[in-house]
């Protein structure tokens, strides 16, 4: 098979995978970027959320061939030092418990804030309802997003 070119976190990768392989598995199993998580495989939980050209996308549903050539950002590439305002706010609000869903939560929040820098609670509900958490971090996620919107990440 001909290699596909994926641009992940600003770096170009030529990957040899079946073109229908969901981006999720290319990231995790081929490129070793395990920060993006598998949760359901049917776009119900959002654990696999990444940014594609700035939009929040379920990587479990996006065939690699359709991702090729687009700018993909995973949790590993959101900031160079793990200090993106959302990451700082997540720590300041002590959001994570088990932490498994948080990559997807943070990237969904990043897409929201780039679209709506001052989201209302309803905006947050709309943007974040697709990302499941079983540990009970929703209220802290909401606070962390508001914290960034108000300009006070830490």
């Amino acid at each position: 098979m001909a290699p596909l070119t994926l641009i992940v976190n600003g770096k170009s990768h030529a990957v040899e995978v079946a073109p229908e392989t969901p981006l999720l598995w290319v990231l995790r199993d081929t490129l070793g970027l395990t920060g993006t998580k598998f949760g359901c495989g049917i776009a119900q939980c959002g654990a696999c959320t990444v940014l594609v050209d700035g939009e929040a996308v379920r990587s479990c549903q996006l065939p690699a061939r359709e991702a090729a050539g687009h700018r993909i950002v995973t949790i590993e590439g959101l900031s160079a030092k793990g200090d993106h305002p959302l990451q700082q706010a997540w720590v300041a609000e002590q959001v994570p418990q088990c932490g498994y869903c948080q990559s997807g939560q943070i990237l969904a929040a990043a897409a929201l804030l780039s679209r709506k820098p001052r989201p209302t609670d309803a905006d947050i509900d709309d943007a974040m309802a697709g990302v499941l958490c079983r540990c009970g971090t929703y209220n802290r996620i909401r606070r962390a997003i508001h914290r960034v919107a108000k300009g006070g990440a830490t």
Binding site: T34, I75, Y100, I106, N139
Partner: protein, 698 residues
């Protein structure tokens, strides 16, 4: 406190040899499973201070979100007077020297509260002695603070790193003095979680993230019915899928081993495996109801003559509550990475019970336990599911058959359909009231399946069957009281689900108390306070929750409040839920929780755990239901087993009942009151009593 704990504590601390220079202290944490004093000193936690002054705490607890990493480190650092920035926590591999490694029953802080503080205190005393000896001064004039020992009269100070080699030569104090709680700097404070940065950058390594050289990826086609058998499959067709390397049979089914998880999943589809259902192929919900109804009740607790008291009562109340099977659905589905070579095995497992998994793998291959090296990763949720060793044993079998290191991933459907389920059950209750509304009789009959019976061949846990936990332990007082249990067997795997039987029994008990209060013409809060034992710590929790929730004041228009309380795992929790119904959908707007957990190690962590228990419990209460048809679980993914989402999340307030009692558990106790609080609120709102979970649409 039991004699066992006292005996073991007498020798809980010793200087132990470890690899690497510095002061090593071994600590023995008492565990539930211990029946006698260990033959030798068996530390199950280690503390090391290295010459650079770094304090490393080696832990035998799994971190599944509950914050035990940070909490355990706080206990050591508090007494050690450590510099918090120099504390590191290292996850211990499975090791018999740790005793039974198990994280469950909301026990980590409860079992470690004294021993880990004493370990910190002992190390502190040894460092102070070493400093005094070096300076040739009176040790009484030396003081430990912030990772240093200081001698005030001379102004001299030395960091722990510089003292650690000398401190290792000091005698371990037998009974090191513990700080006055008034001097605590870390306990009771909102100490930030040590794992938070890694969990916001993708660096935290869960089981599913393990990558070892040469690793393959596999999924397993398993019979949908417990006890079923593989009938046929087309290995050649699976192998034609690009990336599929091998198809191997293991005791649990047929594994497809591939270069990527996706290739393995596609290979499994191509396999077209068929199965014989085996002896449980007829199991369905009608049969479950029949099994529950026909089981014979056995008495568990009896005080006074309930029959007579009921017969003599002026008013009798009677109700039956029904609860479904539930899956755990941890966000990280089950998985395990294993590499089995000739005479040894190495596993990377997101497990709550490392030594159980280690023992089970050793047994499966006839290997000595020390030949099974088992590393514990972060757990993407546990909730009781990850206590079971099934997914570790299976991965080891796949690796052995494939002859390669393999990560076996369970898809969400595998995870939901091959869980160990919270048992379904039916609770029957009777109460008798006098003319003036006094509780004369209370009879609670628990009909459900026993996890202990299925896993260990006996339902007994201590002096009672496991199924009456939370029912026989009630602190309500009646003229006559009886609790009995009817326990049939079932061909569906059962397991512990966050708060275990309290998740069932508290729903029945706390809804029923409201029904009895109504019959007595009393307010639900007032009636609870009237019938609770004088010593019950639920009283303080109820009063605090009610006060903070505005119990007795009018709720916002269109809403109603319900209250419930329950004691479990050493903590006492009351919750008030404020609900409305919008087009048949139950909406929970606000939950006010009050918690008496004794000393709260970290109030922020308490809030986390109570919020978490409420979300987990609400997800189940509103729509959690696993059903069985022709022996197989019907639900499979988050479209038909859908947890609560952010837009449904209530505001949650957590209030602490001030206490100096020993710490209670926190992972589970917030869960049992939520479902009855919501059902009671719905009754207050609609006048309709819902006695079946999930509540669904109303």
């Amino acid at each position: 406190m039991s004699a066992v704990v006292k005996i073991t504590r007498r020798r809980f601390l010793e200087v132990t040899a470890g690899t690497g220079a510095g002061l090593w202290l071994g600590v023995h944490l008492p565990g539930r499973a211990e029946a006698a004093e260990p033959a030798g000193f068996e530390p199950n936690a280690w503390l090391r201070i290295d010459p650079a002054g770094t304090v490393t705490v080696f832990l035998a607890r799994s971190e599944m979100g509950q914050g035990s990493y940070t909490g355990m480190a706080v206990l050591v650092a508090e007494e050690l007077e450590a510099d918090w920035t120099k504390i590191r926590v290292v996850q211990a591999d499975a090791d018999k020297r740790f005793g039974t490694m198990s994280t469950g029953g909301s026990s980590s802080v409860r079992r470690s509260f004294e021993p880990l503080r004493q370990a910190g205190a002992a190390a502190r005393e040894m460092l102070v002695s070493a400093a005094a000896r070096r300076w040739g001064v009176d040790r009484g004039a030396c003081r430990a603070q912030q990772g240093e020992v200081a001698h005030a009269p001379s102004g001299r100070r030395l960091g722990y790193g510089a003292l650690t080699l000398a401190a290792a030569k000091e005698a371990v104090p037998k009974d090191p003095p513990l700080k006055d709680p008034k001097e605590w700097r870390l306990i009771g404070r909102k100490v930030p979680r040590l794992d938070a940065p890694d969990k916001t950058t993708g660096r935290a390594r869960f089981g599913i993230d393990v990558r070892v050289p040469g690793q393959r990826f596999a999924v397993v086609a398993r019979p949908p019915v417990q006890g079923g058998k593989v009938k046929g499959f087309d290995a050649a067709r699976a192998k034609r899928v690009a990336g599929v390397r091998a198809v191997v049979e293991v005791p649990s089914g047929v594994a497809v081993v591939a270069d990527s998880t996706f290739a393995a999943i596609q290979g499994r589809e191509a396999l077209g495996a068929t199965f014989d259902p085996g002896p449980n192929g007829a199991l369905d919900m009608a049969l479950v109801s029949k099994l529950l109804a026909e089981a014979k009740p056995e008495p568990v607790r009896s005080e006074g003559d309930v029959e007579k008291a009921l017969a003599a009562a002026a008013r009798k109340v009677e109700a039956t509550y029904e609860l479904p099977f539930l899956a755990h659905a941890t966000m990280e589905p089950m998985n395990c990475t294993a590499h089995v070579r000739g005479g040894s095995a190495e596993l990377w497992v997101p497990t709550q019970a490392p030594t159980w998994a280690q023992g089970a793998v050793a047994k499966a291959f006839g290997l000595p336990e020390e030949k099974v090296k088992l590393h514990v990763t972060f757990l993407g949720g546990g909730f009781g599911r990850r206590a079971l060793p099934d997914f570790a044993v299976e991965a080891a079998q796949v690796s052995k058959a494939a002859g390669e290191p393999v990560q076996v991933l369970w898809t969400r459907e595998d995870d939901v359909r091959h869980d160990h389920y919270r048992p379904a059950g039916r609770n029957e209750l009777w109460a008798g009231l006098s003319n003036d509304g006094k509780l004369l009789a209370w009879h609670h009959r628990v009909r459900t399946f026993s996890i202990g019976q299925q896993l260990f061949g006996t339902p007994r846990r201590g002096d009672r069957p496991d199924v009456v936990e939370g029912a026989a332990t009630t602190t309500y007082v009646a003229g006559a009281l009886r609790v009995d249990a009817a326990i049939p067997e079932i061909g569906l795997p059962l397991g512990w689900w966050r708060s275990v039987y309290s998740s069932q029994n508290a729903f029945a008990e706390e809804c029923f108390v409201d029904e009895v209060a109504l019959a007595a013409g009393k307010d639900p809060l007032a009636f609870r306070l009237e019938i609770l034992a004088a010593s019950s710590r639920l009283r303080g929790a109820l009063e605090l929750a009610a006060a903070k929730a505005g119990w007795g004041t009018a709720p916002p228009a269109g809403r109603a409040r319900g209250i419930a309380c329950h004691s479990s795992f050493g903590s006492h929790v009351a919750e008030v839920a404020e609900v409305s119904v919008e087009k048949g959908r139950v909406r929970v707007h606000r939950v006010v929780a009050a918690v008496d957990c004794g000393v709260a190690l970290n109030p922020d962590s308490v809030e986390h755990q109570i919020e978490g228990a409420i979300v987990y419990g609400l997800s189940a209460a509103l729509r959690g239901e696993i059903t069985v048809s022709k022996g197989a679980v019907v639900q499979g993914n988050f479209d038909d087993y859908e947890p609560l989402r952010m837009n449904e999340m209530p505001a949650v307030e957590v209030h602490l009942v001030p206490s100096r009692e020993a710490p209670g558990g926190l992972g589970e106790p917030g869960l049992p009151p939520i479902a009855p609080a919501v059902a009671n609120a719905l009754f207050a709102l609609t006048g309709k009593r819902l006695r079946r979970l999930p509540l669904g649409r109303v």
